[in-house]
Amino acid sequence: MKHDSLNVLLDRLQVELALDEDQRNQLRAGSQAPWWLSALLGLAAWFSASFFIVAFLGPWLLLIEGPVGRGLAGLLLLLAALWLFRRGQSFAHQIALALSLTGQGLLIFVLAEHLQLELDNLRAPAVLSMLLAGILLWLPSSFLHRHVCALVVLASAAVLVGSGTGLALYCLLLAACACALWLGRVRWATHPQAGRIRAIADAATLLSLCLAATMHHQLLEPLLDLQKLAAARWTSAVYQVGMGLLLLTVVAWLLRNMKRAAYWSGLGATVVLVILAHPAPGLVLTLALGLAVFQASNRSWMALLPAFAAFYLFILYYSLHISLLHKSLVMVVSGLVLLVGGLLLPRLWRVQP
């Protein structure tokens, strides 16, 4: 947050809560690093870790031969990372993040090598990765490390779920979890585990969006595979209906205290939108998450969600589940409905400033 805005807020809190000078300084120092800096640092740590893993698997073997030696090296790296996390400095945290990722990667590689696993059988490494990241998530570490661990846990679970209807249900579960956590942010913000809950909320949001984009083909186009026609229809239906229901639930929850007429007209408009946009469930998901993160006052996600929607439209263009003409009609009609709704909104909903 900018200096002027932060000072305004601190002055206001001083009046409202009678803050002492110590707490004022703590709050000023406690502002988190911006999300883009965290993303850049995470990327750099991941890059370093992948190089270190390659280095460990190569010439380091002369020093630490065999799976036991490499496993031990991985464990030592994790312990070193945990030790560094106890030193509350950005420099130590960045090194610790890279060491932790290297350690986790090494341990998983050792397991995969020991079991002689193929690339298409990643269940055992996924279980280990989920366990390791889950344990590390609950140990004291940095904001960025907690987020990476939460992401690894949820992504490993996706690997375990596999594909088909299970994956569609998992995507829905993730999206519902993200929406529920954001909608209830005020309630858990002061919980002792709030840092971890926040990491899970961010990871669930990111992964549900990533799965909607990367698994779009698997979730909506398996109809092309004639041998699995019945199962594929289920996958597609579960995903599309599920996302529609999720948006309706979010809207219903947000409107719960409104007057009856406003409640039902809001829900009615959402039903129309869900029906129109059902061939593009990624857009429905973005809208549901957008409403939830706005309720949570999360401006970073508010900025990232439109970027995801633009990327999703790019994927949708090449998707084969419906024709371009069909997609075009869906967009034009949905666009018109939204445009008319937007033009009528100030007349229908008058708010005193």
Partner: protein
């Protein structure tokens, strides 16, 4: 007085870090809820519905022309495309200048201009290269972007222009066809184009944008650094790219000075530092590659990236704190 979204977000982030007690949060909540108020909700819904509506409609038009309906006469297609363009232009004329509707309508005009251009290419088979189509589209967006004062319109023009630049670079890198330009010259042109955008928005952002933000300067800064950074990284491996490496060094030094001393901008400083790390890592990789030391190369590069990013994190965090005091 209603709390802004920014303030709510900061308070909740402090609470999550354990810097606010449950009692203090309860007191704040009792005075005013830590969620957006009705006015904030209405503003959001108005923006989302109008902007998304205009965008979806315009993208729908693009998808429709991409479908290339053979049975539809070309004049009918032109009537449809130009009709949509005229419709949104009229919507902008009757909307309040600077309003959400006004900016959304002009953004739709920007998109539909591209659809009409593609339709011309599709109908008359002009034989233009893909980069030429995108470059013309970016240019034709300027008359819509100028009056709009919308960062989204300018951002779209920037993105399309850069996409044209990348396609131009790829073509020139492999074939050197257009005006005898080679890959490194194409990269310099791309960087120069982005540099002009940075300069224009640093000088005239208040005139070009209804609500001045630093988004365009940062995007174009990313364009300059990426074009030069890619060339500079290649400069360690191919002599042809050495001029780009030298230019990158100069531009990085100038950027660090200007955005640290004159107009402090953390995202641009961070991008510069991270591109310096990338180019430095490439230099290390080249040096150790020549010495045929794969083990040394992998570890040295990893260590360099790690230490570089950690030191950058410390410095950027310190700058961020300085800016808040």
């Amino acid at each position: 007085m209603t709390r802004s979204l920014k303030h709510n977000e900061q308070i909740l982030a402090w609470a999550e870090e354990g810097l606010m007690t449950p009692g203090q949060m309860a007191d704040l909540e009792a005075q005013q809820a830590l969620i957006p108020g009705p006015l904030q909700w209405r503003t959001l819904l108005e923006r989302v519905t109008v902007t998304t509506g205009a965008l979806l409609f315009a993208i729908g038009v693009i998808f429709f022309f991409a479908w290339n309906w053979a049975e539809m006469h070309r004049f009918a297609k032109f009537a449809l495309g130009l009709g949509a363009l005229t419709g949104f232009a009229l919507l902008a004329v009757f909307a309040l200048p600077g309003s959400v509707l006004y900016r959304a309508a002009l953004l739709a005009c920007c998109l539909i201009t591209g659809a009409v251009l593609a339709l011309i290419g599709q109908t008359y088979q002009t034989g233009a290269d893909a980069w030429q189509l995108f470059a013309i589209w970016a240019l034709l967006m300027l008359p819509w972007a100028c009056p709009s004062g919308s960062a989204a319109c300018w951002g779209l023009a920037w993105a399309v222009g850069n996409f044209a630049g990348v396609l131009f670079f790829v073509q020139n890198h492999w074939q050197g066809l257009f005006a005898g330009l080679h890959g490194h010259q194409a990269l310099m042109l791309l960087a120069a184009g982005n540099g002009v955008v940075v300069l224009v928005f640093e000088l005239f952002d208040r005139a070009l944008l209804v609500k001045p933000t630093r988004a365009l300067q940062r995007l174009a800064g990313l364009g300059v650094l990426t074009a030069l950074g890619v060339g500079a990284a290649g400069g360690w491996w191919e002599a042809e790219y050495l001029p780009v490496l030298l230019t990158f060094g100069l531009v990085a030094a100038a950027t660090l000075f200007f955005y640290l001393q004159r107009r402090r901008d953390l995202p641009i400083l961070a991008m510069t530092l991270f591109w310096l790390i990338v180019v430095g890592a490439c230099a290390l990789a080249r040096l150790t590659w020549e010495a045929d030391q794969t083990f040394l190369m992998i570890n040295a590069v990893a260590l360099f990236v790690l230490l570089g990013s950690a030191l950058s994190a410390v410095w950027l965090t310190r700058l961020s704190r300085e800016m808040q005091t």
